[in-house]
């Protein structure tokens, strides 16, 4: 725009002088974030920040509410994203060459070993954080209406996280990777157990198809490597990123984190250090509230117990991010990511173990491939997905172990969950299972009745009993979720530490027979 009468050259000089300021204004629209109003503007004018609400409830900012687990998951994801891109500069996704490039990253690339360690540790931290985050959400009953959809998005994120981790497992192309993926692919093939038993595999073979889709071939080879690489570096990160955006955005749309109804009473007055509310007279009224359906933050409650997200929430988020980074870095310095010898299809690892988060499943697979690999995971996922639709109660929302029964119920359920899993496992390890007693028993019977299904049945029965006892679906859900968490821990620990060659039970790897 040209001011009338000013010489063009003078105008140019003026514009040049003003350019830095205008650039700043263009980037930070709405002025410096010093007042509540400009802070709010700052948040909702930024495409990334405005996934958050502009104001955050004080309840949500307490460490005990979330333990920062969701943000820790995002932080771990961001770390894997950055380190993953760095690794991609050197990694070559082709069999054997891949292994050599891993060796180069480990030994020659400047800081390559550290970057790889960081990638690996962040991936593991992400799996742990996501599982704990889900537990937190469950125990605070935060999945309840109106957050059912976000609970489902979270489950999709859990599956995506496991998928990301699993696909990354093959890429080093060492013995560990090769045989872990072979196990994983065989688990994908496990519906064959049922189709074989029914004798219809020739005509209808979903297991084989699943495995073929995963590997692109009959064995783990270059096709599988390219597939896993593509999934690992493009498809799954994109899906995870989009789901995360939806997940965080839904928090805002669902009215922030779940809070107990009496939250204001629980919190008391805001501490004096809190930034003052509305340092500037509002220039807008809540007209929007009239046309937006549902419970927007300001409807039915004042802004009293909220603080501006900028800076309160963002400081907390940044702190969690840096803390996660610190933990991952410390782990990376202490422990190197494993790299075994070059993958050799002729020398099977014994025991060949899947990644640790699948070892619970592998433990069940040892009894019945179909139930361990497909049946029980499906039951668990469907059950988890149904929880918010079955539990339509209100009591205890936003409170740890909220709902009928409370902590005593969870405590008892932990005992039941551990006891049932340990007793069943000990029994199966000590005395064997049906196949050992009745050699000619049909496979379908084993598929239906094995330690995994029995354990699921025991947990389900216990949970139904809780529903009756407390006359509450929430009580049953608390029991069931706790039991499954305990079962997961028991099976994973046994699979990780106590299973040796041929999946035999050993107290210590020192007892493993060699050869």
């Amino acid at each position: 725009m040209r001011r009338d009468g000013a010489p063009a050259l003078g105008q140019f000089a003026h514009n040049l002088r003003e350019a830095p300021r205008r650039l700043r204004e263009a980037a930070v629209r709405g002025g410096r974030p010093t007042t509540d109003r400009t802070r709010s503007t700052f948040v909702f004018n930024n495409v990334f920040l405005h996934l958050h609400a502009v104001r955050t409830h004080r309840w949500s900012l307490r460490w005990t509410t979330t333990a920062g687990l969701g943000i820790a998951s995002v932080a771990a994801f961001l770390i894997t994203l950055v380190t993953g891109i760095l690794l991609m500069f050197y990694y070559k996704p082709y069999p054997d060459v891949a292994y050599d490039s891993m060796k180069d990253i480990h030994f020659v690339v400047p800081t390559g070993r550290f970057v790889r360690n960081l990638h690996r540790w962040a991936a593991n931290v992400m799996v742990v954080a996501v599982i704990l985050h889900m537990a937190r959400t469950f125990y605070t009953a935060a999945y309840r209406a109106p957050r059912e959809f976000n609970w489902l998005v979270g489950m999709a994120l859990l599956v995506t996280t496991l998928g990301l981790s699993f696909t990354g497992y093959l890429l080093p192309w060492d013995q560990l990777a090769y045989w872990a993926i072979t196990i994983g692919a065989n688990i994908a093939q496990s519906p064959r157990e049922v189709t074989d038993a029914l004798g219809v595999t020739q005509a209808f073979d979903p297991g084989g198809l699943q495995r073929l889709l995963l590997l692109g071939s009959d064995t783990v080879g270059e096709e599988a490597l390219i597939r896993f690489y593509l999934l690992h570096v493009i498809l799954l990160p994109l899906i995870a990123g989009m789901l995360m955006a939806v997940h965080i955005w839904r928090i805002r749309k669902d009215g922030g984190l779940a809070k107990p109804p009496d939250v204001d009473a629980r919190l008391g007055d805001p501490p004096p250090a809190t930034y003052p509310v509305f340092t500037e007279a509002p220039t807008k009224t809540y007209h929007l509230a009239a046309i937006v359906r549902g419970r927007t933050p300001a409807v039915g409650g004042g802004p009293e117990n909220t603080v501006p997200s900028m800076p309160h929430l963002f400081y907390a988020e940044a702190a969690v991010l840096m803390l996660t980074l610190l933990i991952c870095m410390a782990l990376s310095l202490v422990s190197d990511a494993p790299l075994k010898e070059l993958a050799n299809p002729l020398v099977p690892e014994n025991p060949a173990k899947a990644p640790w988060y699948f070892l619970g499943l592998q433990e069940l697979v040892a009894f019945s491939a179909f139930m361990g690999g497909i049946g029980i995971p499906t039951i668990v996922l469907v059950g988890l997905g149904l929880i918010p639709f079955l539990d339509r109660e209100q009591a205890g929302t936003g409170v740890w172990f909220g709902g009928p029964g409370g902590w005593p119920l969870v405590r008892n359920s932990i005992a039941v969950g551990f006891a049932a899993a340990l007793i069943l496992e000990s029994f199966a390890i000590q005395f064997g299972w049906l196949r050992e007693w009745v050699p000619g028993i049909p496979q379908l019977v084993i598929t239906a009745v094995n330690p995994g299904t029995v354990l699921t049945f025991v947990y389900a029965a216990y949970s139904l009993w809780l529903v009756r006892l407390f006359n509450s679906a929430r009580a049953g859900a608390l029991g069931l979720f706790t039991c499954f968490l305990c079962g997961f821990v028991v099976l994973t620990v046994i699979g990780t530490y106590f299973r040796g060659p041929n999946w035999q039970f050993y107290w210590s790897p020192a007892d493993w027979p060699v050869h």
């Binding site: 400047p110 800081t111 390559g112 870095m329 010898e341 060699v514």
Partner: protein, 549 residues
Amino acid sequence: MQQTKWLLLGSSLGALALLATAALQENVFREWRRIQAEAHAADAPIPVHLRQVVNTSLGIADRCVSCHVAMGPGDQEVAGPGMAAHPPVVHDPGEYGCTTCHGGQGRATDKADAHGTVPFWPGPMLPRGMSEAGCGTCHTAIAVPQMEGLRRARVAFTRLDCLSCHRVDGRGGTLRPDLGGMQGPDLSRVGTGGYDSKWYDSHLKKSSAPGPWRSAFGSISESDRALLATYLATRVAAPRLVEAKSVFHATGCLGCHKVSGVGGDDGPDLTRAGEKDPGRADFAAVSGPRTLAGWFDEHVRAPAAVVAGSLMPAPPVSAAEVEALTFYTLSLRRRDIAGSYLPRDRMRVARFGEREFTSDGATLFGAFCSGCHGRAGQGHRSPGLPTFPSVANPDFLAVAPDALIAETIRRGRPGRRMRAWGDGSTGLRDEDVPVLVSHLRSLAGVPAPVVDPQPPRWVNGDRAEGERLFSMICAGCHGARGEGGEGLALNNPVLQQFATDTYFVETISRGRRGTAMAAFTEPAPTRPTLSRQEIESIVTFIRTWGVTP
């Protein structure tokens, strides 16, 4: 809010500190950097950077020269603490790299990782003093005779004073002015490169003219020339490996193990035994070092103690021979290499049917038979295993016709550990069988029995009487149904088919010296004496187990 800020500050500073630590640790405090910083060439410090030898045809990227700088291409003059240039070798380390011969992990840049003494690195460096085992990665020595044969060949070479002119494996070839000696060609590698086959004629011709040749060279007998040829064929610049291989060819390991498709299949294939991953070996019973060499050492001394359930008889070998066997086993390795690098010797074995051992009787017996039957054919007893018969027993050779021995070698003893060697899968050829038979005869110095005038089956004794006598006298050792025990199995179909009645009758009459089988026609206080007729009855009974021809 305030707490959160402090947490953010603290964790950020911590993360920065860890990042700096990692950067320093990985880029500054590396051992190879220190070593290169202390080294110098011509009194000037050398540039500190990662050094490596890359050869894609061999599939190597060896960073060993980052520490062993002076061994790298063009860096021979670099000096520094603990640094030395590579001794002169056939293959230029600058082209062939380090791990091709020495093993270890070439891509690694830490000492333990590079030397391969870490978990999950299956190919650690070959032990000091056994570097020649690395030759086996690509090469194989051809026509190596058994230990004694090689020794005689070597002695002949020394005895005929070839070393006064020729240099072999770093010895000999010095100029001796007073005796008019001269410098002949170095013969250390003639086994691979070949030599003038008419050397004897040309040597003779030169010595017939006046000059230093006249006093230096005289005529050599044909047998000595054969010994020289044997010796020269094994000069492949790896004298210690050839010595070790000759021990292997005297210990009969091929009787049960295959190497490159040659040998029996009772035991594991040894073609790539030198690549065995020490991380997968059981060291519970190994008292020595927990290395692959230590494992092989102990395994040769006490096979069943190291590998539970092993049916391998412990070979009666000296400590030096144990080391030689370990050495040779370590050399059994392979690498997938580009065709242009495939050496001639390997090609000659793989494509043209040349053998890694010589085809004389002693070497064939040593390589295939001596593991069970003993180096002198004296037989072998090992705890927990059936007796391996003494095949060089003079009483056996005196009554066994060549055809029986030859057919036994060809067809083996079904059901026993003596496999059929003539089935084409063992690497033992049909023309080797008569060589082996005559070697057996030479071991005991017993010629073949005179041609038997009788037909193969002629006895016609009393079967019932034979059965009574057999169960009374013979069954204790040979089993009630001739299935064998302390004594040999008599119901074996190959024995029944190819042994003549005369053979049985004569064996019972004469017995076998040095074994529990007595001569039953001679009176003794501890057992009944058998008449000719009784012996025939027993043979008639023995014949009931065999198929009638």
